[in-house]
Every structure is written in structure tokens, then in C-alpha cells.
């Protein structure tokens, strides 16, 4: 593990207790970011579901389908128009779009989420590296303190 020199000097000058506190806050940050990443991934899979739904409807030759009333109750129905979708673009607004345009909206959103996930992952890697260095410095300090105590004990 070789961190930036300035970083190391900073960490080494801290007291063990401060290091423990610092580690705690890094842990919290990592937790927070991991949760955010998971949220992003669920959102992404939902959007992908929308795209596959549009694809499936486009491909299917019959206009028969089952309309869900609840998750366990369905009603046979027929789709009248296959190229007209109502797309939720956020904050309660819906827009009528063709199949292709609808997919474009979802594709764009998936791409954006991909970018955000990438950024988040980078941050997570950095944070984990930082956590490792802190742990390393902390362990060194503990060994130092222990050896000091031992030598003191020998003197007395």
C-alpha cells in the first residue's frame, strides 16, 4: 500500500483515538455509498424492464394481453394501438411517445445511471484504499505503543 506522501504524514501525526474516529467516519461513508450504488442498480434494472416490455409488445403478433388488476388478478384485454406509449418522465409528468421514442427515453436514463454508478464505484475504491491506509497506520501505532509499554515495564 503506497498512498500519497502528504496523506501519510497527516495520518501518522494523528493520535490513535483520532484514527479510530476517522476510520468510523470512513466506514459510514462507504456504507452510504454502497447503499446509493444499490439504489442506482435497482433503478436501472427497473428501467431495463420497461425497455424489454416495449420490445416484447412490439414483437408479439397478437393484440391479446392480460391486464393486471392486482398482482394476482388479471383480465384478458386487447391492445388497440401498439405504437403509442405513455412515458413517465418524472415529477408526475407523462408524455405520449412512439415505441422508439419511449425506448430512447429509457436508454438515456440507463446511460445516465451507468455514468453515475461508475463515478460512485471510483469513489468507493478510493475510500476503501483510504480505509486500508488508516488501518495500516493504526496497526503500526498500536505496535509502537505496545513496544513502548514493554520497554517501560522492563525499566521498572
Amino acid at each position: 500500500m503506497s498512498a500519497t506522501p502528504s496523506n501519510k504524514v497527516d495520518l501518522a501525526s494523528l493520535a490513535p483515538q483520532q484514527l479510530v474516529e476517522f476510520r468510523k467516519s470512513i466506514d459510514q461513508e462507504i456504507n452510504h455509498f454502497t447503499q446509493s450504488l444499490q439504489a442506482l442498480q435497482t433503478a436501472q434494472s427497473k428501467l431495463k424492464d420497461c425497455i424489454t416490455s416495449v420490445d416484447n409488445l412490439e414483437k408479439s403478433k397478437t393484440e391479446n394481453l392480460l391486464v393486471p388488476l392486482t398482482s394476482s388478478l388479471y383480465l384478458p384485454g386487447k391492445s388497440i394501438k401498439k405504437n403509442e406509449y405513455l412515458v413517465d418522465i418524472g415529477t408526475g409528468y407523462f408524455v405520449e411517445k412512439s415505441a422508439n421514442d419511449a425506448k430512447k427515453v429509457y436508454d438515456y436514463k440507463v446511460k445516465r445511471l451507468d455514468e453515475d454508478s461508475k463515478k460512485l464505484k471510483e469513489i468507493l475504491v478510493q475510500k476503501n484504499e483510504l480505509l486500508n491506509t488508516v488501518n495500516l497506520v493504526l496497526r503500526k501505532k498500536m505496535i509502537e505503543i505496545e513496544s513502548q509499554q514493554q520497554s517501560q515495564g522492563q525499566k521498572v
Partner: protein
């Protein structure tokens, strides 16, 4: 002797309250940020549309058709409003943080006094 101690307690209570306030404001701030981002996405979506697009607004459980210009104006207005709100909350956070620092300085001074 009891007087500074009492003062100390009062101050630390005030400090805790200020800390809580700051945390609340920060939560509000992040909520506003989420709304801001969402509205921005909607606005960019509106940029790609035109007068002929059929737009509906979800009001409660029903969809109400809305004019393109009106919907776009609504979202722009909302973004402006949210930006103002963000500014308001941010000034509040800095104010409260300053107050917190002042209280902490007082606390430290008082503690030194008591320890003497």
C-alpha cells in the same frame, strides 16, 4: 460555583439543539437537491418535445392533459423555486453553524473557568 455549572449545562443543551437544527437543515438540503435533479431531468426531456407532444400531469390518481408551454413553464418555475429554497436553507445552515461555533467557544471558556 453552582452558577457557572448551571450556565455550562444550559449552554451544552443549546449546543445540542443547534447541532440537531443543523442536521435537520442538511437533511432538507439533500431532499431539495434530489427534487432539483429530478426536475432538471424533466426539463431536459421537455426541451426535446414540441407543441404537438401530448403531455399529461398526474394529479392524485388521474392523468390530466396539459399544454406543452404550460407544463414547461411549470417545471421551470418549480426549478426556480427549488433553487431559492436551496439558497435559503444554505444560509440557514451557515448561520446555525456559526452559532454552534460561538456556543462551543463559550463552552470551552466556561469549562476552563470551572476547572480553575
Amino acid at each position: 460555583m453552582s452558577d457557572p455549572k448551571k450556565q455550562f449545562e444550559e449552554l451544552s443543551l443549546a449546543f445540542n439543539e443547534q447541532q440537531q437544527n443543523v442536521n435537520e437543515y442538511i437533511a432538507v438540503r439533500s431532499k431539495l437537491e434530489t427534487q432539483f435533479q429530478e426536475n432538471k431531468i424533466v426539463l431536459t426531456e421537455f426541451e426535446n418535445l414540441n407543441d404537438e407532444s401530448k403531455i399529461y400531469k398526474l394529479t392524485g390518481p388521474i392523468l390530466i392533459p396539459q399544454e406543452y408551454a404550460e407544463a414547461k413553464l411549470n417545471v421551470s418555475k418549480r426549478i426556480e423555486f427549488i433553487q431559492d429554497e436551496i439558497k435559503r436553507v444554505e444560509t440557514k445552515i451557515t448561520e446555525e453553524e456559526k452559532a454552534m461555533e460561538a456556543t462551543r467557544d463559550k463552552l470551552l471558556a466556561l469549562r476552563a473557568q470551572i476547572e480553575q
